[in-house]
């Protein structure tokens, strides 16, 4: 019996971890390209959930169109955020941009509270409830949805970054902005696109969580945002596969702590991981020494 429980918990952890991974990707891409920890990124996840909510309840969209609409809307918000709040500060000290990011995060939360209301909203359940038995364990169709969508998006992102011209340009900007500019790459546009991509991924995570947990509120982005940030650091910030690995590990670790220890330690474990990583492997699990450009 015990190993079945363990397996089931592993599955639950991976579902949660996939959500963290989707958010962590945005953190890591933005960091990779402009060396900014975008603390307003968790808010893209929250906004994504609300955009999905309104797409389904007001415009009667089904799940996939709602997801696409929400991704697009969040991408636009992400691009605007970069254009209005971060671009004017591009040559300022990094701390100024970081503080701006925290300010933007609070602005999004309060605005969301004003516009969407502070009450907890049930997410419209456009899917039936099903459980699929897989030998000793089972998987719910919502978990399956999370795995499916997360995997699809991660593969798509990988292909985009590795095999396309755009991906090449992105990597070039990450490596050396000035050189990329000299090679005729439109750096501003690449940065905008990176924000759009990251925000769209976070928005998808928001909708998936809405479907999975059936509850959204204007402050839902804070904790997952911070945990996804830890996941990105754990995997090695700036490294795309690292964000996925970090996210999955975080999800599993959290479920493990709740199962074996106490639920009150749930949030503590995430930040304990951050401290340990910073102490012993500051470049993250997949990071190489000297990755940080001097």
């Amino acid at each position: 019996m015990a190993w079945q429980v363990a397996l089931q918990q592993l599955l639950n952890g991976l579902a949660l971890g996939s959500v963290y991974a989707l958010i962590a990707l945005g953190y890591t891409m933005v960091y990779g390209i402009i060396k900014l920890i975008n603390f307003a990124h968790g808010e893209m996840y929250m906004l994504g959930a609300y955009f999905g909510f309104y797409a389904i309840t007001m415009f009667r969209f089904s799940l996939v169109p709602a997801m696409l609409l929400s991704m697009t809307a969040a991408a636009v918000v992400g691009v605007l955020l970069e254009r209005i709040a971060y671009r004017p500060l591009r040559n300022s000290p990094r701390i100024s941009v970081l503080i701006t990011a925290i300010g933007a995060s609070l602005l999004f939360q309060s605005t969301a509270q004003l516009v969407f209301g502070a009450s907890f909203k049930p997410f419209p359940q456009v899917m039936s409830f099903r459980r699929i038995q897989l030998g000793p364990v089972f998987i719910t169709n919502r978990q399956l949805l999370i795995f499916g969508v997360a995997l699809l998006l991660m593969v798509a992102l990988h292909v985009l970054v590795t095999y396309t011209k755009f991906g090449k340009a992105m990597r070039a900007v990450a490596r050396d902005k000035e050189a990329a500019l000299l090679m005729g790459i439109n750096v501003d546009r690449i940065i905008s696109c990176t924000f759009a991509l990251g925000s769209a991924l976070a928005a998808t995570a928001g909708i998936l969580v809405g479907m999975y947990y059936n509850r959204i509120d204007p402050y839902m982005g804070t904790m997952p945002g911070l945990k996804a940030f830890v996941a990105a650091v754990l995997g090695g910030i700036g490294i795309v596969p690292g964000a996925v690995l970090g996210g999955l590990l975080m999800g599993v670790a959290e479920n493990l702590v709740v199962t074996l220890g106490s639920s009150t330690l749930r949030d503590a474990v995430a930040f304990a991981v951050l401290i340990v990583v910073l102490l012993f492997r500051p470049n993250g699990l997949l990071g190489k020494k000297g990755m940080e450009k001097v």
Binding site: Q4, V5, A15, F120, R131, R215, M223, T259
Partner: protein, 381 residues
């Protein structure tokens, strides 16, 4: 100070006195401060309470007020948060000089306000707060609802004696006094009556993922699952529990009573039982009249929070009438002694300890409606 300045000051003081004295002497309206959770995670509670309190005050004012004086309400939102509630209380006491505070709605917010009211000597009555510790803050603190120890005991007794259950599991919020208090009361009584708590899991306020806890609970296959929390958390737990394959009887508390429960639980609340303050099925004229008028005014059926809000206002009105003034000392004494109030939730008799003596009901969710199962009278206190 020069002579001219003295004169100016004197004039100023006289003008101020002239402006304020008539207002005080007229003294037409009795100011009551209301603190309610109009937004936030328990917003449906606060909106119900506000609706019902406003309705009750309109009724009282239309009937000529209290000893010829009208009641005026100052309603503030605490978002279901202790810090906000404390700020609201300070404002009502320091700036608005209210005679009494009605509210807040949930126990954590009440516990932030009660010490302030006690220290300032302003009587406070929470129409809905059930935490045992509320009324032990002091002699100025009252409530219009039953206590959690009573509620938890009633549910355990019902589970064993009425449903014939022998085993139960509990999932509760370790960071909320309300949830912890209910869990303790339920567990104690359930075990006293020969039942067994087979598993217990906990989470913290704000958590949304319960899959780890529910997986552990589902493996124990308990006959019943007790979920002592507000609808905004109980709803998602109910849904996730059913998805995890739990077929236990779901047992709940007054916190489940909200029009939003069904949407948050994805319809999986069906068949669950709760302890509550009132049932719409009770045939008393006071109850039926209230339900009809509330529906007409607000377009939805009143929940228990609305019923308690209305009754809380009745208790306050009766106490103000008995005290004959807004003197805090007299009002406090009246609040502890008024009785025979024909409220929506039954006949209310207040007790100097701060909690009314009245009965509770058990409801079952059938076809999305709360149906009265049985009525349980308080045995002692």
């Amino acid at each position: 100070m020069s002579h001219a300045r003295w004169k100016t000051m004197l004039v100023c003081v006289m003008v101020i006195l002239a402006l304020t004295v008539p207002a005080a002497a007229q003294g037409d309206a009795i100011k009551i401060g209301v603190i309610s959770s109009l937004t936030g995670s328990v917003s449906t509670y606060g909106q119900s309470v506000r609706n019902a309190v406003t309705m009750a005050v309109e009724d009282i004012n239309a009937a000529g007020g209290i000893n010829g004086r009208q009641i005026s309400l100052i309603i503030l939102d605490d978002k279901g948060d202790g810090t906000e509630a404390a700020q609201a209380a300070r404002r009502l006491i320091d700036r608005e000089n209210v005679a009494l505070i009605l509210g807040p709605v949930i126990t954590p917010a009440v516990m932030a306000v009660a010490p302030i009211c006690q220290a300032a000597g302003v009587p406070m009555l929470t129409p809905t707060g059930t935490g045992d510790q509320i009324t032990s803050v002091g002699d100025y603190i009252f409530r219009g609802a039953y206590k959690d120890s009573f509620q938890g005991r009633v549910m355990a007794q019902f589970a064993i004696e009425y449903l014939g259950l022998k085993e139960a599991a509990i999932i509760y919020d370790v960071a909320n006094d309300y949830s912890v208090g209910l869990r303790t009361a339920f567990k104690t009584t359930f075990e006293e009556l020969g039942g067994k708590i087979v598993a217990e899991e906990s989470y913290s306020t704000g958590d949304t993922d319960f899959s780890a806890q529910l997986t552990s609970l589902a493996m124990r296959n308990p006959e019943a699952l007790f979920i002592p929390d507000y609808y905004s958390t109980a709803g998602p737990i109910l849904m996730q529990a059913r998805l995890m394959g739990m077929d236990a009887v779901m047992l709940g508390v007054d916190g489940w009573d909200s029009p939003d429960l069904s949407a948050l639980a994805g319809g999986f609340e069906e068949g669950g039982y709760i302890v509550n303050h009132y049932s719409a099925d009770v045939d008393s004229p006071a109850t039926q009249d209230f339900i009809a008028r509330y529906k007409e005014a607000f377009g939805q059926a009143p929940d228990a929070l609305a019923a308690l809000g209305y009754d809380g206002t009745l208790i306050v009105a009766k106490a103000l009438e008995a005290a004959g003034s807004t003197d805090p000392e007299a009002l406090k004494n009246a609040l502890g002694t008024v009785g025979d109030i024909e409220g929506v939730t039954g006949t209310i008799n207040m007790d100097p300890e701060g909690t009314p003596i009245k009965s509770a009901v058990i409801l079952r969710i059938t076809g999305g409606q709360w149906e009265l199962v049985t009525r349980i009278d308080p045995v002692g206190r």
